[in-house]
Structure formats: C-alpha cells, structure tokens
C-alpha cells in the first residue's frame, strides 16, 4: 500500500532500536502481541527516579511497516515525558501523525498497549 513519507522514514530509519536491561529497577518493559498474529512489539522505558521523567526508550518489533513505524514513533514521543504524560499518549495521535490507513489502525492500538504495558511494569517494580 502507499504509505506516507513520515511512515516510510520511520521504517527505513527506525528510531531507538534496541534493548534495555529489563532486570533494572528503572526499566519498564511492555511486550504485546503474539507471533501467530503477525505482530509483536517490545517497548522499554528507562525512568529517572528523582524527576519521574522517561530519559530513554527503546523498541523492537516483529510486524509490518505500520507496526514498526508506530512503535518507533512511540519511543520518540516517550523520551522526555513524565510517566503521567506518557499514559495519556493516544493511538489516534499515532494514526494522524503517520497517516495510517484504516486497515492498519490496529498497529497504533498495539503501540499504545505497549506503552501502557511498559509503564505498568515500571510502576509495579517501584511501588
């Protein structure tokens, strides 16, 4: 399908690809999707204890161009936000930014789930 320039840019040069140490107390990991579904996203955040600001975010995704672009964009948006600000990231914002076609909206939903999953994981480690 004909994707937007922004989406293609995220696909060709994805931002923040990588892995953080998931055993660290400051790291929250969200793992969503399933291989059978053709979509697996792993999104990780590293949070600064004092300020509560996300200082680093990394992702890896098994999925189509839309899935990869959605998760790459998510890591860009996460860096520099507080945990509360991050919780309010909405999938429709991803859809708009990347101009996702209707059939690919579910990729943005998965990215939002991954964000929330990472935050939940961090919170559960830092009660």
């Amino acid at each position: 399908m004909a994707y937007s320039e922004k989406l293609l840019e995220h696909f060709k040069h994805p931002k923040n690809v990588g892995t953080l140490d998931k055993s660290s107390k400051n790291v929250g990991t969200g793992l969503v999707g399933a291989p059978e579904c053709g979509d697996v996203m792993r999104l990780q955040i590293e949070v600064d204890d004092e300020s509560g600001v996300i200082k680093d975010a990394k992702f890896k995704t098994f999925g189509c161009g839309s899935a990869i672009a959605s998760s790459s964009l998510a890591t860009e948006w996460l860096k520099g936000k507080t945990i509360d600000e991050a919780m309010s990231i909405d999938n429709m914002a991803i859809v708009e930014e990347l101009a996702l076609p209707p059939v690919k909206i579910h990729c943005s939903v998965l990215a939002e789930d991954a964000i929330k999953g990472a935050i939940e994981d961090y919170k559960s480690k830092n009660k």
Binding site: F11, P14, V17, T19, L31, V32, G33, A34, P35, E36, C37, G38, D39, V40, M41, R42, K60, T61, F62, G63, C64, G65, S66, A67, I68, V103, H106, V109, L110, D113, G117
Partner: protein, 406 residues
C-alpha cells in the same frame, strides 16, 4: 545494475503480455474490427478465422479438439461455469462435489454458492507438502458425487497434484474430474485427456497473454460433458457461454498458446535453474523454510518463510525495485494469513513470514542475483528489529511465552 530498474518476480499474480502477443492482437482492434458472429461479410469472416486459428493453437497445446474449447473472460469465469454449470446440468445424477481446502477462491466461493443452493461439498485437507491424500479422496466419493475439482498446480506454493492418479479414481467411480489449471497451462505440459480431466479452466494473463480472456475445456467424447450456461444471450460457444467474442483477446491467448507450445520446454528448464539459484542463495540464511512439496512443484516458483520476520515489512525493504507476494495477514484486505499455507500446517507465524517468488519469461540471472542480495539484506534488517529473533538467539523457548494476544 541500474537501481531504478524494476524486477518482476510475481508472475503467479500476472505475467507481462509478450510483445509478440500484443503485435498479433493489434490488427483486431481497428483494421479487422469485425464481430466473429457476423457471418455475412468479410469483416466477420476475418474475425471468425482469427478465432478459429486461436482455438486450434490452444487445442494443439492441450492435445484436444478445437470444438472442446470455450472462450470466457478468464479463469474465474471458467471455474464458475464448470462448477455451477455441472451442478445444474447433472442434478438428477447427484448434488455432491469434492474439492480441496487449498483451491483458488474462484473454486471455493463457487462451492459456497452451490452449498447455498442446496448442494453438498466436501473440502479435503492436504498433507504438509500440500498434496491430496488419494485414499481420503476415494473414501469421500458417494453415489451422489458428480464432480471432483482439484487444481493442477497451486498458485501460492506451485505444488502439483497427482493428476493421473486422481483421474483414475474418478474414472473408476464414474465421477467427472475438473481442474483449475491456470498456473500450469503454458508452463508445463498439460494434457487433460491423458490424465482423465473432463473440464479445465485457465486464463490468458498467466501465460504471457492479455487479461480479460480465458478458456474452459469441456470434453466432448467418452464422456460427452455438458455445462448449463451461466451467461445467457445468443447461445455463443455451443450454447455454453453467450456474449460477443473478445476477438483481440482470443487472438492474444491463441498466440500465447502457440508460443508456449514452441518454447515451454526450454523455458521451464531455464527458469528451474534460476529458481534453484534463488532458493540456494536465500536458504543460506538460518531459519528459512521452503513451503510445499519440493519434488512436486512448478519449475518457476518458490515460497519461502523467513522465521521471525514479518512478510509485509520484509517486502517493504526491497519493494522499490522488486515485486513479489506474501502470505502475511498484513498484506490481505481481510487481515487473515494465507489459508493455503495454513492448510499445509505451517502455523500462523510462518504464514506471516512467507514470501512467494514466481519467476517468468523475462527474468534474468542478473535480476536473480540482485534479488538474493536485496532480500538477504532485508531479512537481516528485519531480524535486527525483531524482538522474537533476539529471543530466539538467546535460546528463549518462544512456545513457552504467554503472549498477550489482541
């Protein structure tokens, strides 16, 4: 290698019309514009002669009589005509049809329609090579069975069914045998009478002919087969398919058949070598799997799964230059993965990771070498991005993970 050059490895989706075919067709648009049914003037006679010549070329290719060739708008129409036409014509004899789960949608959806009309259809499973189980087939035949419909070669995997053995079973039980041979005609020798096929569908645009024209072969002697027309209005094609003949299209498919008859053997040999070269180049990477029977398949097709890499994403790494298809759900409008690959027992994740490469008349060795490199680079890029590749490399048992599926 010019980076801008487009490499076409999706010949199972459609083939470029051979320039010789286009040349043969052109006069029939303006210079000889007659309707082949206009019996009373030279315009019509010229058109009729051209159509008859095409019929003969096609009959030659298949080893049948010209009277057994019916022209349609394509294989989908031919499949519809064969299935629904036989169902209606033979309803006094029975109402049961047997087919495979891996058939083309034109067959499967026609069968669904027949079920709605009150017919019974048995959809046989295939084994993990994509082949029918002959014992299961024979066991499924009842005294109400009027037709077995099994495709000659599969469009996704290239797998070729044991046609002679199926024909023998149908003959033994007095059941008609129909085959969608779209992916085989013009590429390998296809002789319906030699294997006991009574009806056979195929189309021009899969054999370097134009889109919009196809054929249904209908056996005329021993047994004399008839189909109830699905399109009425004028009684063309021996009453089996009405409508003004698509003369340029028919000239095209006739020319394509003539060329195939002359060049098919050498072409299959050449493409088989190129396909093997492509396959060898790609199978160098770990966790790559060929889908479908390697021993029984078309010479120009390979369907490969690249584990832990999703198909649409992989295609995006090289689709500026190279055209292929994938069995991934992400490439289908229905968001379902390829039902053919699932029927082979692949498992959804390998279906999502599959790419079909189908070579053709105009594929060169240079293009194959370029493709090997581009696809390999693409697989590497996608694996670097893939969390499940990382987990696999770390020795994590992916089966043991509780995924939070949507």
């Amino acid at each position: 290698m010019d980076n801008k050059k487009l490499i076409y490895l999706d010949n199972n989706a459609t083939t470029p019309t051979d320039p010789r075919v286009v040349d043969a067709m052109l006069p029939y648009f303006y210079t000889h514009p007659g309707n082949a049914a206009s019996r009373n003037h030279p315009f019509g006679w010229a058109a009729e002669e051209a159509v008859d010549y095409s019929r003969d070329m096609i009959a030659n290719l298949l080893g049948v009589d010209g009277k057994e060739i019916i022209f349609t708008s394509g294989a989908t129409e031919s499949d519809n005509l064969a299935l629904k036409g036989v169902y209606e014509m033979y309803q006094r004899k029975g109402n049961h049809i047997i087919t495979l789960t891996t058939e083309h949608k034109a067959v499967l959806d026609s069968c669904k329609k027949i079920e709605k009309m009150g017919g019974k259809v048995t959809y046989l499973e295939v084994n993990n090579e994509g082949l029918v189980d002959l014992k299961q087939l024979e066991a499924a035949i009842t005294d109400k069975t009027i037709l077995v419909s099994i495709m000659w070669a599969n469009n996704e995997t290239g797998v070729i069914q044991p046609m002679k053995e199926i024909g023998a079973i149908c003959e033994k039980h007095g059941v008609l045998f129909m085959s969608d041979a779209t992916q085989a005609v013009g590429k390998i020798p296809v002789k319906p009478k030699e294997v006991g096929v009574h009806l056979m569908a195929f189309t021009g645009h899969k054999m370097y002919g134009p889109k919009g024209v196809g054929v249904l072969f209908v056996n005329r002697k021993n047994p004399r087969v008839k189909v109830t027309a699905q399109i009425d209005g004028g009684g063309h094609e021996r009453g089996m398919r009405s409508g003004t003949l698509n003369v340029p299209g028919i000239v095209g498919i006739g020319k394509a058949a003539e060329i195939a008859n002359n060049e098919m053997a050498a072409e299959a040999e050449r493409l088989s070598k190129l396909r093997d070269r492509l396959e060898a180049g790609l199978m160098k990477m770990e966790e790559t799997y060929i889908n479908g029977s390697v021993a029984n398949r078309m010479p120009h097709v390979t369907n490969i799964s690249f584990k832990h890499v999703e198909g649409e994403g992989l295609m995006m790494t090289f689709n500026q230059n190279i055209g292929v298809s994938s069995g991934s759900a992400c490439t289908s409008a229905s968001l379902e993965p390829s039902y053919v690959l699932i029927a082979l027992g692949l498992g959804d994740d390998l279906a999502h990771s599959s790419i079909r490469f189908s070579l053709g008349r105009f594929t060169t060795e240079e293009e194959i070498d370029y493709a090997i490199e581009a696809v390999s680079k693409g697989v590497q890029h996608m694996r670097d991005l893939s969390p499940i590749w990382e987990m696999y490399k770390e020795g994590v048992d992916l089966e043991s993970i509780e995924w939070s599926a949507h």
